[in-house]
């Protein structure tokens, strides 16, 4: 059953278009991620789902029921924000219990205990939010949002204020809790790597429009637009034309499995490596970044820059030849 759906949702502020014609469906129990650069509309989408914003056009439906102007308090959502937004004048326990007073939960006290246990904060019930670390505050915010057992959990960049290591750990914890409870979750992030790592499905946004929805693998392997190809992972994008089933890259004519006509194709840096391959490109090294397990090399080639991957660090100014196979080439769209 679809737990949550948006159809034809647009949001305008005066002349500014924040969202245009967004339609998507989130399945029951799914971990669904909205990803895109800042200002792409992902947060507006989340706020529209929560009821903080009313769409200019289109409808948001929960379990098939159109929400219209239903206020947030009547939508059964739980929200966790980037800056936690814990109530500073209430204790940790009171924060978690806040939403329970609007439900008919028989034993709020016990429920608060359960949630403290769930997020690993036993013994923090009487602390003030200000005494907690960022990670602990985020756990409290998650517990508070989950306490009234919402139908949909909405997470708005909840980890981005934390440092990288803690972010990764907390991300896995959140995912484990979500799987455990089976709560439908919409997660907003600007970090495409994070989106690929945790999601059942990903929706990529750009400039207020939905670019592509799919599993992380599908979005990564078969980008449907140039934006997705370049935003999700790194990519070298070539614009050109397919003629007689072949696409030209430099002097190489590479067979592709697509109809003739104008086309956008892409090659991941990890497919462009030093060594044997069906086709080869030669350019001049302009920069090399040592990343540990590999080296990211910027290569000047035919008036543009390619990003390729090597194992050893080349000197800037060296000529470098990289090879690829025709199976590495992905046609966008």
């Amino acid at each position: 059953m679809s737990s949550l759906s948006l159809s034809g949702v647009s949001k305008r502020y005066g002349d500014a278009v924040a969202l245009s014609d967004v339609s998507l469906t989130v399945e029951d129990g799914e971990f669904f991620t909205l990803v895109g650069p800042s200002g792409c509309g992902k947060t507006t989408t989340l706020r529209t789902i929560a009821g903080f914003e009313t769409p200019t056009e289109g409808t948001v439906a929960f379990g098939g029921e159109a929400m219209g102007t239903t206020p947030p308090e009547e939508r059964s959502v739980g929200v966790v924000f980037q800056q936690y937004a814990l109530f500073p004048h209430l204790s940790v326990g009171e924060n978690i219990a806040y939403g329970l007073q609007f439900t008919d939960h028989p034993d709020p006290d016990a429920r608060v205990g359960e949630l403290l246990d769930l997020v690993g904060l036993d013994g923090f019930r009487d602390r003030e939010p200000g005494e907690l670390s960022g990670g602990q505050q985020q756990r409290v915010a998650l517990a508070r949002a989950l306490a009234p057992e919402p139908d949909v959990l909405l997470l708005d960049e909840p980890m981005s204020a934390l440092d990288a290591r803690l972010r990764q750990r907390l991300r896995r914890e959140v995912r484990a809790i979500q799987r455990d409870l089976g709560v439908t979750t919409v997660y907003v992030t600007h970090d495409q790597a994070e989106a690929l790592a945790v999601s059942d499905r990903v929706a990529v946004f750009s400039d207020g429009k939905l670019e592509q929805v799919g599993t992380p693998q599908a979005v990564y392997r078969n980008p449907e637009t140039r934006f997705v190809a370049e935003f999700v992972g790194e990519n070298n994008v070539f614009e050109g034309e397919i003629r007689d089933g072949e696409f030209s890259i430099g002097d190489e004519r590479v067979p592709v499995d697509a109809p003739d006509g104008p086309a956008t194709v892409c090659l991941r840096p990890d497919s462009l490596s030093v060594g044997a391959g069906e086709y080869a490109l030669t350019g001049t090294v302009t920069d090399a970044e040592f990343l540990g397990s590999s080296v990211r090399v910027a290569l000047a080639w035919e008036n543009r820059e390619l990003t390729v991957q090597t194992e050893t660090v080349p000197a800037v100014g060296d000529r470098l030849t990289v090879a690829f196979d025709h199976t590495d080439l992905v046609v966008v769209g």
Partner: protein
């Protein structure tokens, strides 16, 4: 839950309606009075503008614009020679020790300086009552800047014990009743005051300062210099040390870096302080009334006098003209403030130097400290001293008088106990009215949208309308009675006084609450709503508890303003002639001040000081708590 969704708008409508009844309608009726004489006419306004008494040299120009150039030329010639001869006199006084010896030198120099100032004042052709009002406001502004700017320098650039206390004390004038300040000045600078006794003890001639322009200006500086200090010190503290360091690293000397980096950031604050001081002193009432009398009357004092003479239309014209000036200046101030406010927090302010050390700069600052003590402490201390001093020595009889006069007082005599009781009652009434109004308006002004902004601006209008005009408006409409939809409505004097106080007080509630509300993360409310709370529930559970310190500070302000309010109260309380049953403490102080001894007014003034000091402590303790 429809009732929940209409509750807030309903409260907003009620507040707006109260504002209309308590402020816009009464003030509007005063303004309308100025342009109606049977029908709508500009004759009364033209009459005042073309009257020598009101506009002096301008009156000629308004009557016959053709005479302007000739008049201007003659004036330039005459004033140049006056100033030149006065300067010559001062130079003569400065070199006088060579002829007459050192003993009479200070007196001669003071006389010389006085001569120059007198000549400067004398060349101004006199623009009548309005000219004088603007002139004293200008002088007061200059004096406030002179007295306030060094203070900003000390507070912003030096570290010393008590700096924070001193910094928060600069907010005191907001709550200090001006009539009390006037009493303090009478006590300090009167014929038998400590200043003259000190001069006499040193064998110097005594000075007659009361009922002079000088004392008005010094009292205005007492009131407004702390404001200048506060605004400029805040700007100075927000100068980013890294900007100065960058200028230095690029080759600027310390003085050059100060001129290029610091000064441009201070100038807007100085201008803001000057503009506010000018507005306040242009409308100043009790200080001028008590320290200047009718001889040094300003527009506001004369307006009060006209009401007393029942010349309501002339009073109304004066109210219109005064309000036009002050609204214009307030508008300029708001525009300027909006254009220059930055509001971002500075991560690295300039380092402070220790104050206690010995060098020329610090000796000069010590001199400044002596002046500050003279202007600020002397009046307060003198008032307290005079309240416990009788010709026979120390006494508590004036305080006893405050307690005892209640019982046997007849309505024609001023009863101090009744005044204290009235003040407390009106103060409580003001709290009941001003705090909810202020909180609601603060809520409205922090909401998005054009309507909300309009509400924010309109609700600040009482800042720009003088208390006497508000009092007059309330008197004319609610107290004398008005007819609405066929019903005759008459509001009793006490209610009208509370309304006037609430009008003066609620902007302070707004000012204290709105910044805290605006500073709240909107996601707090959104979190509460996602958890199931309605908008109003989130307001009660989340927003109000978090802005409680601001509400408390606003309430303390409101109470202090009510306790000290004089301008509209004196009109409303003395509306029924000799009946003194509505007198408040400030009105009683003013009435006592005319009598022979200083004991009674200073005792009452000291009680006022105690009450407002208590309010100030509340403001200072709770006001800034959540701001960090």
């Amino acid at each position: 839950m429809p009732s929940n969704r209409v509750a807030a708008p309903l409260a907003g409508v009620a507040t707006a309606a109260l504002l209309v009844v308590m402020f816009y309608y009464p003030v509007g009726s005063v303004l309308a009075e100025a342009v109606t004489d049977g029908g709508v006419t500009l004759a009364p306004i033209r009459g005042v503008l073309a009257d020598d008494f009101y506009t002096g040299a301008l009156a000629d120009a308004i009557r016959s614009p053709a005479s302007i150039p000739a008049g201007l030329a003659g004036w330039l010639l005459a004033s140049a020679s006056d100033i030149a001869s006065a300067l010559a006199g001062l130079v003569g006084a400065l070199v006088s020790p060579f002829e007459t010896g050192l003993r009479s030198w200070p007196g001669a120099v003071l006389a010389g300086i006085g001569g120059v100032l007198g000549a400067l004042a004398g060349v101004v052709p006199g623009f009548g009552l309005f000219g004088f009002t603007a002139w004293q406001a200008l002088l007061s502004t200059v004096a406030s800047l002179a007295l306030g700017l060094p203070g900003a320098y000390v507070l912003a650039r030096f570290e010393f014990p008590g700096r924070r206390t001193l910094e928060s004390l600069t907010a005191v004038p907001f709550v200090l009743p001006s009539i009390m300040v006037a009493v303090g000045f009478v006590a300090a600078f009167g014929v038998n005051g400590p200043l003259n006794r000190a001069l006499a003890a040193l064998g110097l001639p005594t000075v007659e300062l009361l009922f002079s322009l000088e004392i008005i200006i010094i009292a205005h500086a007492f009131y407004n210099a702390p404001l200048v200090t506060r605004i400029v010190a805040a700007a100075w503290e927000s100068v980013d040390a890294r900007a100065v360091e960058t200028a230095r690293s690029l080759g600027a000397s310390p003085a050059r870096a100060f001129r290029d980096v610091v000064v441009p950031q201070l100038l807007p604050a100085v201008a803001t302080g000057a503009l506010l001081t000018f507005i306040f002193t242009f409308m100043s009432f009790p200080i001028v009334l008590a320290l200047g009398g009718l001889e040094y009357a300003t527009v506001e004092v004369w307006l009060y006098n006209r009401v007393g003479q029942l010349d309501i239309q002339e009073a109304a014209v004066l109210a219109v003209l005064e309000t036009v000036v002050s609204l214009g200046l307030t508008y300029a101030y708001l525009r300027y403030e909006a254009a220059t406010s930055r509001g971002d927090r500075v991560s690295s302010p300039l380092d402070r130097d220790p104050l206690v050390r010995f060098d020329a700069k610090r000796v000069a600052l010590a001199g400044y400290g002596v002046v500050v003590a003279g202007v600020f402490l002397l009046p307060i201390v003198s008032m307290l001293a005079a309240s416990v001093t009788s010709p026979e020595g120390l006494t508590l009889r004036y305080y006893r008088f405050l307690l005892e006069r209640g019982a046997e007082a007849t309505s024609a005599q001023v009863s101090p106990t009744l005044a204290v009781r009235n003040s407390l009652l009106f103060g409580a009434g003001t709290l009941l009215l001003a705090v909810p109004m202020g909180v609601l308006l603060a809520l409205a002004s922090t909401r998005e949208g054009r309507l909300a902004r309009a509400v924010g601006v309109l609700s600040m209008a009482p800042f720009a309308v003088s208390g006497v005009v508000v009092g007059l408006g309330l008197l004319q409409t609610l107290v004398f009675g008005t007819t609405v939809l066929g019903h005759r409505i008459v509001v009793g004097g006490p209610l009208a006084i509370v309304a006037a106080h609430a009008v003066g007080a609620y902007p302070f509630v707004v000012r204290n609450v709105a910044p805290l509300l605006a500073g709240l993360d909107r996601r707090l409310v959104e979190s509460a709503r996602a958890l199931g709370a309605t908008r109003n529930r989130a307001l009660l559970d989340i927003e109000l508890p978090l802005v409680a310190p601001g509400i408390a500070a606003g309430a303390a302000f409101a109470f202090a303003i009510s306790i000290g309010e004089f301008d509209s109260t004196v009109l409303l309380a003395s509306a029924s002639g000799s009946d003194t049953s509505l007198y408040t403490m400030p009105v009683a102080v003013e009435r006592f001040l005319g009598k022979q001894t200083l004991g009674r007014p200073t005792a009452m003034g000291s009680v006022l000081l105690a009450v407002t000091a208590g309010a100030f402590i509340v403001i200072d303790r709770v006001g800034g708590r959540y701001r960090e």
